[in-house]
Symmetry: D3
Subunit: 68 residues, 6 copies
């Protein structure tokens, strides 16, 4: 009965990508630990780039620097 | 000083239901562990059904199947 | 398919208390949101009082002050 | 490689305040534990006052009482 | 810069299994979202079966019932 | 009433360092957001280096490589 929480920045993650993350993570837990998929939860959090910091800075700023 | 995080799918949870979850969880911690309600936090996360997976699939898809 | 995480300080929580927290939280989600208990997870984290802070201080210190 | 999650109520937190929380938390981990800021993540969650409970009540209600 | 938290019951997860969960999850985020593995964190929590509840009961009890 | 969760690797974090993380984080929330320290929680999780992955590998392995 695993619970997996995936946090990524909120940058246009599509339905297909979400479905792929859920299916892939669940399959990994089946393959590696023989868990039951019927009680395997995967929850995806999409976090605003304003609210995610790395190396002292908001990701919003890092994205702007990368674009210049 | 407990901290409780309740994650449910984002499907029209009302103010009254949120209040009932908060009061009920807090009362449970008072009753079972004699905790102080003044420092008992309850945080509810409402997660999009697109972002919650169970048994390889998004809950959105499971809800559609259940409706057909 | 709710997921509930209860964090309390690690101060001799008994098996019976853990069972009461799990059963009580699950019943609350059934009563308030009509959730299915078979896919309701409750995870209890017991946190060392050294690792929990409130009002600038470790709970370990607050417990010592309360005992004097 | 620390990971820090800051949950606050969603009450008009500004870009400058978010940046200050990220920079300040990262600096604290550098100062106290000599961590590498390049692999220090800070994620801020802004939680609706309807979804945060303390002392049996939603913060929304506590704010209304404080204003009266 | 994703952050993934995998919670499983604490039932003899080996080093090889942990390494497989970390590598597999990271590869999934590279494949699906083109994320940079150098800033992809995977944190595994092993939770005592006494502290994990499903369907009103501790997993400890469910395991005992399954063995009888 | 903020809640902060700090996850670091379990590598001999001292009582003094824990106290400094708690006091520093709480002060940051007072300074930046004018929060009440009496209802500011800081919870530190110390995660085994076997259970923390970055860039496909367990931190345990990265530490061994760094030492050679």
């Amino acid at each position: 009965m695993p619970y997996v929480n995936i946090k990524v920045t909120d940058e246009n993650v599509t339905q297909e990508q979400k479905q792929a993350l859920i299916a892939g993570t669940t399959q990994l837990l089946v393959d590696v630990l023989d868990k039951n998929p019927a009680t395997t939860f995967v929850v995806i959090d999409e976090v605003s780039t304003d609210n995610w910091g790395i190396g002292f800075d908001q990701v919003t700023k890092l994205r702007q620097l990368a674009d210049t």
